[in-house]
């Protein structure tokens, strides 16, 4: 097992409470940062760590922080994106539910680096029991002098507030999140200006994912260079993966990004193999928006190399022969799953979640859902497959925010890799209602996939 930086103490009894968390070494990073480092030194340490945003885009966190504008007399804000809504992703929920103080600690250090005196955690409304857990941790931190006025006598003031959303995937997009935090509809803003210049209430703002901010704690405690030593290349540190679908052990795992996809799926330490002795058909490795891969392309890259669980390797082959690390939402489909139906549920999801601002997304997501429903229910035409392809191409890149791309990519990848399954639905309108296409020849060649 690799090193655990975030979940190391997750199973310590009582770790949710302040006393145990502190006894286990909690809040050391706040002491270190506030007493011995300048805000810029904290940012430099994060840059050295190579940490990349864990929300999905993988943008270097230290670089993002360094973009924060610092005009005189204007407040700056850190906003924690806890709107975790990408299908397949449930890692932030785990962190907040079981290690709330780790997030609070990361928030304090990050707020110090960015000069945020009021930091907001924007949490999705459906995680309705979690705000209380976070607010409890915040109150405990405050009672022990880690928050409030003049923290540790350093003159730094900081408060953390929890803000609940109300059911909108789009609010995970940072500018939509800021609109929502301002009490408006979650319509993404046109960039530029970027939030680092003009964010919430027109003030400079940095928005970071929960896991990203929690990772600041080990980075400050052990140093950025130590963090950068874990992993491979530009995939430094550890990553939380949430695994679901047809596997024996669904759940949240911390990986060091050096393990292979095969090990992640089949090892008892992680997913524990495909459930019920079935065979692996396909997988969406980084949340519903990233391309689905058939088993053969999932376990090995197109060059025949072992595919690893990191940003570069999962992306190897581009969108034609690869996928993405994304948010770490790992969805596994066994031989009994229908790719057409699965893609339909995702198309319905994106239609439901489109904010309606840009016509290619507002109209296109609805068209894709309708066409996919026709194909799934045996009412499709062969020309529908090309029509679907055409629609997704016209959405991609033509919208204000990435939701359009996120809606287009799953459809594109499903057609690219599983076109025969779509054609089979069209050619067998009655049979497709009573049975699934099953495992196609593309999933066969690997020994491990058929073992």
């Amino acid at each position: 097992m690799g090193r655990l930086l975030l979940l190391e103490k997750a199973n310590v009894p009582g770790i949710r409470g302040y006393e145990v968390y502190r006894r286990e070494g909690g809040y050391r990073s706040v002491e270190k940062a506030l007493k011995t480092m300048t805000p810029d030194q904290v940012t430099d340490e994060v840059k050295k760590s190579g940490l990349r945003g864990r929300g999905g885009a993988g943008f270097p966190t230290g670089l993002k922080w360094s973009f924060m504008a610092k005009p005189e007399g204007v407040p700056r804000y850190l906003v924690c994106n806890a709107d975790e809504s990408e299908p397949g992703t449930f890692k932030d929920r785990y962190l907040m539910e079981f290690l709330p103080h780790l997030l609070v600690e990361g928030l304090i250090v990050s707020s110090y680096a960015l000069g945020s005196k009021a930091t907001y955690v924007y949490i999705r409304g459906e995680y309705a029991w979690i705000p209380e857990i976070l607010e409890q941790a915040i109150a405990e931190a405050k009672a022990n002098g880690w928050l409030g006025k003049n923290i540790l006598g350093t003159g730094f003031d900081c408060e953390i507030y929890v803000h609940t959303g109300a059911g909108a995937y789009i609010c995970g997009e940072e500018t939509a999140l800021l609109e929502s935090l301002e009490g408006k509809r979650g319509n993404p803003r046109i960039k530029p200006p970027f939030p680092a210049v003009k964010g919430v209430w027109d003030c400079p703002t940095v928005v970071n994912n929960v896991e990203t901010l929690a990772a600041i704690v080990p980075i400050i405690n052990n140093g950025g260079e130590d963090y950068a030593k874990i992993g491979i290349g530009k995939s430094t540190g550890t990553k939380l993966m949430s695994a679901c679908g047809n596997i024996n052990k669904p759940g949240v795992f911390e990986i060091d990004m050096t393990i292979s996809v095969e090990e992640f799926i089949y090892s008892d330490e992680y997913c524990g193999g495909i459930a019920n002795g079935k065979r692996l058909k396909a997988c969406i490795p980084g949340g519903s928006s990233v391309p689905i891969l058939p088993a053969n392309l999932l376990l090995k890259t197109v060059k025949g190399e072992t595919r690893l669980m990191n940003y570069e390797s999962l992306g190897d082959g581009g969108f034609v022969k690869g996928s993405m690390m994304g948010s770490g939402g790992f969805i596994v489909l066994d031989e009994d799953q229908c790719v057409v139906k699965h893609t339909l549920t995702l198309a319905r999801f994106y239609r439901h979640e489109s904010c309606g601002q840009c016509s290619p997304c507002r109209e296109g997501t609805g068209w894709m859902e309708k066409i996919l429903r026709n194909i799934d229910t045996g009412k499709g035409k062969m020309s529908d497959i090309d029509l679907l392809w055409d629609i997704q191409r016209r959405i991609e890149g033509n919208t204000i925010c990435p939701l359009g791309d996120a809606a287009a990519w799953p459809v594109a990848a499903a057609i690219r890799h599983f076109r025969d399954e779509f054609e089979w639905h069209v050619e067998n309108p009655e049979e497709c209602l009573v049975r699934n296409y099953g495992l196609a020849n593309y999933a066969d060649p690997l020994g491990v996939a058929t073992a």
């Binding site: 299908p87 459906e126 609940t164 109300a166 995937y169 699965h342």
Partner: protein, 166 residues
Amino acid sequence: MAKFSDDKLKKVDEIVARYPAGKQKSALLPLLHLAQDEFGGWLSVETMDYVAGLLKLEPIEVYEVATFYSMFNLKPVGRYVFEVCQTGPCMIKGCDEIIEYIKKKLGIGVGETTKDGLFTLKTAECLGACGYAPMMLLGKYFRENLTPERVDQIIDECRQKAALNN
């Protein structure tokens, strides 16, 4: 007419104070949650107008927000709302069968409420419990790893709770 108790009004002040002066509109989503919990599980026009008044907003600013977010109910719902997730990972694990089972058991369709006013069935898009599918949101909590037996237990539990409160 809908009106918060003094206790709740104190909570309103506390929420508004989280945001910078003059940015009280930011409190809108938290306040709509509070109002929905307080006034029967849904937001009537009257309730939305009341919230608009509390935050010194135009009513339209509240309507446009309330209609955007899927957690706000704009028509009455039953005392217990089952929101069953139906996105990919839940579909893989059989949410369609669970939805069918609930429909049959309660004799209602999606979006409908039982005649006794106890249950409403809704479908939801990904609620972030993909590893513990199929699942539903019931009140403040997730009910995960659903099976027909588990659904029966939940329905019985709700009925018992309702009987105790009446």
